[in-house]
Symmetry: C2
Subunit: 268 residues, 2 copies
């Protein structure tokens, strides 16, 4: 493979991230044939399933989806119980593209976003847990962002694995037999979990590098102009001032308590 082939192929590959009309059709028409392109060796065939449920935090889903969306040839399924539109915690309603029944059986990536009450409901829902446990048993990668790891835990998918979550409930993972680990993206064998909400971007790039290569991920990063410059420095429990941490801890206390109860009732 020459550099020129590599470049030509990449142009085609990454174009899916930024001008992917054809790709969008591909996502909802899994049997649609890809057009002939130069550099087919840059094409992938990943089957990526992203769980959706009422009350999910939509940025947990869309951060990684935006990076998966650049994987030319991959198929990204937004999976829910039915094809009825799903409303996020902050009122964004998204249409699923597959159901628990129509989602492929053998996945490259199984992913779940987090949230609060909606996440706890999903983590107590037998049908959702059965779907996650089934696909998770065979998926090449089992992944989550934010409190989505509570769903992985409740489905029995984190026993003995290092994992992370939103800072508020990271410790709860121990209740599922996982090893809570404080990092932006945590990998233990084929389990890859991201921290809270916006960690989905760092998680997404990590996954692109894992599924393709670091060069492909760098191209996705430039395309998404991911050169973050937060106007404040309060994004973690290590950097936030005490007067910011206190009300957030107070606000999330009920969610943390309910998450601990979930873990206690799940533990076998």
């Amino acid at each position: 493979m020459t550099d020129i082939n590599r470049r030509e192929a990449l142009v085609l590959a990454i174009s899916a991230a930024f001008a992917p009309h054809a790709f969008a059709a591909e996502q909802t028409q899994p049997d649609h044939k890809m057009p002939e392109v130069k550099g087919e060796h840059w094409m992938g065939d990943e089957q990526i399933a992203m769980l959706m449920y009422p009350g999910m935090t939509v940025l947990d889903l869309i951060g990684p989806q935006s990076m998966f969306g650049g994987l030319m040839g991959a198929k990204v399924y937004l999976v829910a119980k039915s094809l009825d539109p799903v409303t996020s915690d902050a009122g964004v309603t998204i249409t699923p593209t597959a159901t628990f029944k129509t989602c492929p059986n053998d996945l490259t990536v199984l992913f779940t976003p987090g949230g609060t009450d909606g996440t706890l409901a999903a983590a107590r829902d037998a049908e959702t847990l059965a779907f996650m446990a089934d696909r998770g048993a065979r998926a090449k990668y089992v992944t989550s962002v934010c409190s989505g790891s509570l769903i992985l835990g409740a489905a029995g998918l984190l026993k003995g694995y290092k994992a992370t979550s939103h800072w508020s409930v990271r410790h709860v993972l121990a209740g599922f037999g996982a090893i809570p680990t404080d990092a932006r993206v945590v990998r233990d064998r084929n389990r890859i979990t991201g921290a809270g909400v916006t960690a989905g971007l760092d998680f997404g790039l990590t996954m692109v590098a894992e599924l393709r290569d670091p060069f492909y991920a760098e191209c996705c990063q430039l395309m998404a102009e991911y050169d973050p410059d937060p106007p404040f420095n309060a994004g973690s429990m290590k950097t936030a001032p005490p007067e910011v941490k206190a009300p957030m801890l107070e606000m999330l206390a009920d969610f943390v308590k309910k998450s601990e109860a979930l873990a206690a009732s799940t533990k076998s």
Copy 2:
């Protein structure tokens, strides 16, 4: 206002960002009465309209929406030509909550996301431009992320203003009479524009601080665990290696040319 009142109010305020079932209803039922809460002085009444159109880049929309979603009392409208679901460039289909006709006339914030071909189509669509020009003439803030600034420019909303865009088309803004400015978030009077895609997070926090105060924005930042840690350093034209920049420039060349043609045909 004591610190305790401030904290209690904030707990309620920020809860909308993370567990906002009530807030979600508020977004789609603009006449719904807010429940009585302590600390009403922390409530806002912003009217925020976020444009949606086929082919938009969904992360351009969802980054800022996730921050606006934390503004308790604010109403966030996802506005399109009709209430028919709108499909993004990477195949995410979102249901609008308002149309050009039902969107409030007097807005606190008018916002548009970017994209590529879909953005150029929206920037040439008379109905879309009329909506943006009308609401933009009275909105307290006129804003965009990524190539959404091409739509603002085409609607005549950037003449004489400093503004930014996705790195690939920032220079094109000059064709609309704007002053292209290289920064993550650019403010000139009441025009606030963000750079490409992921800049929507920095833009969103900037807007929260502007609409409420920096403390409120820091709480949103902690809740979203926005403590970015990109696994690579290729997110801008200043940091990306030449072998990453070259194929991306090549891939976007057609979009840049079409954007320049749009500006040329719009300039009066």
